[in-house]
């Protein structure tokens, strides 16, 4: 499974989004994420990718699209 596919799997697990989001589609504008579901997404990403995401990184801009999430995860793994 590609990293983007794994990210999308986590997004589906924490949101009511039915279709796969496009890589650069805003997850907040589409209603897939809000302030209550972002913490769930972050926890899901931690479990899926085995990374620790500090609370200080919990800002919408970092997790607004699949592309941004992938870039953020790459930075955590670097």
């Amino acid at each position: 499974m590609s990293k983007q596919a794994a990210i999308i799997k986590v997004i589906h697990a924490v949101s009511e989004l039915e279709a796969d989001p496009r890589p650069d589609e805003s997850l907040f504008d589409s209603g897939a994420l809000d302030s209550f579901t972002l913490p769930d997404l972050v926890t899901g990403l931690e479990q899926e990718f085995g990374v620790t995401i500090p609370d200080s990184d919990l800002v919408p801009e970092r997790f607004d699209t699949v592309t941004k999430i992938e870039a953020y995860l790459n930075s955590r793994e670097a």
């Binding site: 302030s35 209550f36 919990l58 919408p60």
Partner: protein, 308 residues
């Protein structure tokens, strides 16, 4: 060892429904209730002070505890909406209670101040015997209708808790307090201004920090979240309370909730909720009790009390 001995509260008579808030802010009634869980809140009369409301909650608490004000060894007064910078309402309250030598200290910590007061009282009861924790807020004077996100949330009220060295209905077994000042500007009230809140940031951080604080506190006391009898949380937003329950995998019915009637009364909300829960006939505690709060600072934490 310190005990929770009694709770008390006071809420003003004036009810302010969502219809009035909708007219004032432009938000529709259904949206206000859906996003906050609030149906109405109470507003204090113009001539009432934070200390006045604290006195009424204190008298309710002392009456239920069956002790006089003269038996109080220390007062801790939480408010984020005091009328002046100093002195705070603690000394005014002490004077209104007829106390002229009893130490009375202010905790100017919005939202989480009453939880901090109980946690401190648990440690200080060994020295001061009866510690009276008060939280009173007049948030209606600190909001602007031009900022609907905060205007629709807040109400006024006061709560009280008596923490005693000698006796009570539950003993305070453990406490956990946290502060992260990097978020000081996320929720603030500057001199002469109205409340400024970055709601998204507050909710996101609270959604993560509160469950973690509770889970860690329970784990180190070898208690699983579902074994807790009741969770008493700062009544900030019903969706946040549901979120914390879901994260802990606990039925939300185990979280006492009265936000629909009072709104967010900042640091008073935890003690108003505790008082209503306690007065509802559940004063005989048979299972662990958890209090938790999150607010300006950010300050957050949890308190664990166990049956005696």
């Amino acid at each position: 060892m310190a005990y929770l001995r009694a709770f008390g509260c006071y809420v003003p008579e004036r009810r302010v429904g969502n219809e009035e808030l909708a007219t004032r802010t432009g938000r529709d009634v259904a949206t206000i209730e859906k996003t906050t869980g609030i149906r109405e809140r109470r507003y204090a009369a113009d001539d009432v002070s934070v200390a006045d409301m604290g006195l009424l909650a204190a008298n309710d608490c002392l009456s239920k505890a069956g002790i006089t004000a003269q038996e109080v060894g220390l007062i801790l007064f939480s408010t984020g909406s005091a009328e002046r910078c100093f002195p705070g309402p603690a000394s005014t309250l002490a004077a209104k209670l007829g106390l002229t030598t009893t130490p009375a200290l202010d905790l100017p910590v919005a939202s989480a101040g009453s939880l901090i007061g109980i946690a401190l009282a648990a440690d200080l009861a060994a020295r001061y015997s009866n510690v009276l924790v008060i939280a009173a807020e007049i948030m209606s004077r600190r909001i602007s209708d031009a900022e609907p996100d905060t205007a629709i949330l807040f109400g006024d009220g006061a709560g009280a808790a008596l923490v005693s060295r000698e006796e009570g209905f539950a003993h305070i077994a453990d406490t956990a307090l946290f502060t992260d000042g990097n978020y000081a500007e996320s929720l603030q009230l500057q001199h002469g201004r109205t409340v400024q809140m970055k709601g998204l940031e507050v909710i996101m951080q609270a959604s993560r920090k509160i469950p973690r604080a509770i889970a860690d506190l329970l784990e180190r006391n070898q208690i699983v979240p579902t074994d807790v009898g009741v969770y008493l949380m700062h009544q900030a937003n019903v969706n946040l309370i549901r979120k914390v329950a879901a994260t802990l995998k606990v039925p939300e019915q185990q979280f006492f909730c009265n936000i629909e009637r009072y709104g967010n009364t900042s640091s008073a909300s935890l003690l108003i909720a505790a008082s209503e829960w306690w007065a509802a006939g559940t004063s005989r505690v048979t299972a662990p009790l958890v209090l938790a709060a999150f607010g300006a600072g950010f300050n957050w934490g949890a308190v664990l009390a166990l049956p005696v």
